[in-house]
Symmetry: D2
Subunit: 137 residues, 4 copies
């Protein structure tokens, strides 16, 4: 299975917009981080919801790649997120994904999102990836 650096390079090619950094990829999970600056903040110092959703989506994608290999055609089929607390304006958002199922056709994982260094989660997401048929990488 690909290591962190290989997945980070693949992510940069496949998902060039993402501002997420791959922190680690473990069997069954992955951790990513997203910088927070003016582009991510709303008035009052709230990290915007779409940023949190994007971090959840990328964390799940990275974890799936770590489990099935560098398969370009894996696509999200659903993502459900609950927003729990106001994120800190001056900390990165960290997304910790844990895969709950990696089947032949679908992978399902949950992502807990934190303001880096703080204990209480700011959001929690669950999502599904559809895995393309055929031999895996």
């Amino acid at each position: 299975m690909p290591d962190r650096d290989a997945i980070a390079a693949f992510l940069a090619a496949e998902f060039p917009q993402t501002r997420c950094t791959v922190l680690s990829v473990e069997p069954g999970g992955a951790t990513v981080a997203h910088a927070v600056g003016p582009a991510e903040l709303r008035p009052g110092g709230t990290v915007s919801g779409p940023v949190l959703m994007a971090v959840a989506d990328v964390a799940l994608y990275v974890a799936v790649l770590g489990a099935i290999g560098l398969v370009p055609l894996a696509v999200t089929t659903d993502l459900s997120i609950h927003f729990l607390r106001k994120p800190a304006a001056d900390r990165r958002v960290v997304g910790v994904c844990r895969l709950m199922k990696v089947g032949q056709r679908l992978a399902v994982g949950e992502v807990t999102l934190y303001s880096e260094g703080l204990d209480e989660p700011v959001a929690h997401a669950v999502g599904t990836y559809a895995i393309p048929p055929g031999p895996r990488a």
Copy 2:
């Protein structure tokens, strides 16, 4: 209740990152559009999932503002999205929100996302906004 222009101005102030345009606000719903260009596309010409999630979130926000007034502290509490089809690379994403409930404390709506001008939806989202206590705008 605020009209389209008032909501568009409020959105620009409260959500300065958004690239969504408010197309219309009706009783019980709203329609927004998001340009699609290199910043929204992944290799192969797919609009990235986070863009679709962002459009859904903004469409719901705009519809809620249209229903309860320009209340800055309304926050998304959950958003669930299903991705249905590959969006077109050369068409705007349009999000059509229909509110299903506007209560004292929570508003719930669904958003159907299209590639502009095409009939089949590319994604569908459902989300909840928490409405702050106190007199409404």
Copy 3:
């Protein structure tokens, strides 16, 4: 494709617990109803949440069967429900499903739940069915 009676018979065999009645099956959708009596009510006259979830699941199942034929191995992969209003204690629950996608591998639909005869929905669900590989019925 199977008609209403064929689907009702199939449902009775495959899902013997269900107390749902198939009212209609149309291209792209289906309508089911569930009786409400003491077994469905909680104190105060609220139809219990699990009953509403069960109606949503069956409505989606029936609509999928109507679209792909009487395939026994189709299974729900996710279901998301929002509860909107207190259902009436003395009316059947009706679930109206509209399919949003019927692909080779996944079908996605939404279900709006009503107290029969009333206009405002009591709940809204979205769910996915995984369709088994191989020739369809």
Copy 4:
């Protein structure tokens, strides 16, 4: 805060249909179990999806009661479930809830569902409860 027996008695009064047993209530979580017999099984020995949804709902309810006291008017506002594996036909379904947020107005928790004694989860749910205004029990 109420103990396990008090919550079990309250559950029996408020939710008389449930066949769930309260196994434990801890700060921030709860565990419940549901017997599996002919009434829960579909042909082929699958525990029906609505049973799993019901266990998730009750596990979340019990955990919320453990956190806020015996408040009768707490209601589920949303529940999202992903089905992961076929449950065993001859084991109880166990739902383990962990609360992620207990706010003034909303509580959010996740529930992992198992076939009793087996390690891999059969389903995973996330849900929100709305907490009624006013003094807590």
